[in-house]
């Protein structure tokens, strides 16, 4: 599904990913964990094609297509979805209007309005999103948790093939966290070929969505890969110690 091959990425003359490689197969769940500034969000932005992140070398292939030739919107239309760490507020455009237009773009203009409304209401109810949030400006005045739930609502409506969840847990209370992951799990049941890349600081979320792989990233490189047990080890030993061990591990 997605193959990242030795990418080096810089922002403002600072290299944040160095010879970074990662392969994510169809239907698999990967988690990237790492300390602040290790390059986690750089990875998500680079996959999505944020023009501020300059790729100096390497390749990213998505479903046999060179992603680097595509603009961010083309990548989105190919089925990549980035749930933002800090979703943006856009005044004057209602949430429902935004979702309907985005779905229309994905489906090349043909959308059944009745089905869209039915879906939007059903998914909002699944996520316990208050009904008035659909008619309000996109993310305007939403709480941190509501913004994150709204990202998941967009995901469910747009039906992507590859999910990047960038700190989806931040700003969510424990009940909302469970609810968000219940929705993501249900989505993956409905679309089992979907791959997921979760970026987080919080190993507790691994119990809500068990990953196939956990990667520890430090200074722009993966320093260790394991399963969800690696998250538990991280809890007891911290990033610093794991990184030290990694020198031997390598």
């Amino acid at each position: 599904m997605l193959e990242i091959n030795k990418i080096t990425v810089q922002v403002d003359d600072k290299q944040l990913l160095k010879d970074f490689s990662l392969k994510i197969d169809k239907g698999s769940i990967h988690v990237i964990m790492g300390p602040n500034g290790s390059g986690k969000s750089t990875l998500s932005r680079t996959i999505m094609g944020d023009p501020r992140y300059q790729l100096l070398s390497g390749k990213i292939i998505f479903n046999n297509q060179d992603l680097l030739t595509l603009t961010p919107d083309q990548r989105a239309r190919e089925g990549i979805f980035l749930a933002f760490q800090n979703p943006l507020e856009i005044t004057g455009v209602s949430n429902a209007d935004f979702l309907r237009t985005a779905l229309g773009i994905k489906q090349s203009g043909s959308i059944n309005l009745y089905e869209f409304i039915k879906k939007a209401e059903e998914y909002s109810s699944d996520l316990k999103i208050k009904s008035d949030l659909l008619s309000r400006g996109l993310n305007v005045g939403f709480s941190g948790g509501e913004k994150k739930k709204n990202e998941v609502l967009q995901l469910k409506i747009l039906e992507p093939k590859f999910l990047i969840l960038d700190e989806i847990d931040s700003g969510l209370d424990i009940d909302s966290l469970k609810l968000v992951f219940k929705n993501i799990k249900n989505y993956l049941k409905d679309y089992p070929d979907t791959s997921v890349l979760i970026i987080t600081h919080n190993n507790k979320i691994l119990k809500y969505l068990v990953p196939d792989y956990v990667h520890i990233i430090k200074a722009g490189k993966i320093v260790r890969t394991g399963t969800s047990d690696l998250g538990d080890l991280l809890e007891t030993e911290g990033y610093e110690q794991l990184g030290d061990e990694d020198e031997n591990f390598k």
Binding site: M48, P51, R52, L88, T91, G92, V93, A102, I105
Partner: protein, 245 residues
Amino acid sequence: MKILSSNELPIDYQINKEELLIRAKEKQEIYLENVTCSRIKIEVFENSQIIIREIKDEDVKPSQYDIILKENSQLSYNRFHKLNNYHEDINIHLSGEKSKIIYNASFLITDPHNCCLNIYHDYPLTTSIINNHGVISKEGYLDLTVNAYVPKGKIKSYLKQENKVIFLDDNKSVIKPNLLIEEDDVEAFHGASLGKFNDEEIFYLQTRGFDKDSATKLLVRGFLYSNLDFKENMFCRINKNISEE
């Protein structure tokens, strides 16, 4: 040209080639579209609460607006204008205690335009809330002056101005917000910003499948809509103008 009531209360107005005079009272809602007179004069009667919604998207040029509010009256004036290559003066007189103007203007500019908005707090306890949202593209240039006057003795007046301009191309503009206040017992605020849309906003929309052009149009729409108390069909009209530009 259209002069219509939006809530079926009849409108008291006189019109000739030079001037449209509206005498607004009670709770009228008035819709104006492409008025061709060179002057629009609006008198808001005592104890009235009036909403005016105006669209100007054809090549008509009323160059002067005179708005007079009497005691304890309130006017919410909402304008969408496609402004090109002319000068306009807008004079608002708060001519009675507790009179209040909420003036919301959203405009698209593709040629040089010059606008001078004067708000006169002629009585104590008066309120003016001014919101200008402009989108400038192509050869557009805006010279916007907003003067608010509070003479000595007009106590407990409240003034708020927010002027925001977005450039879509390599445009330049000047905003001059002037609070000319002689009285101490007044609350006054003003803000002005000029610049392009944030790259992060465009990127966010791109990640949802909008190409750069559609993302920009959506942001323009939101920026212009959010400033106006308009009806749904009027927003469609703005959208048509955005698409054309």
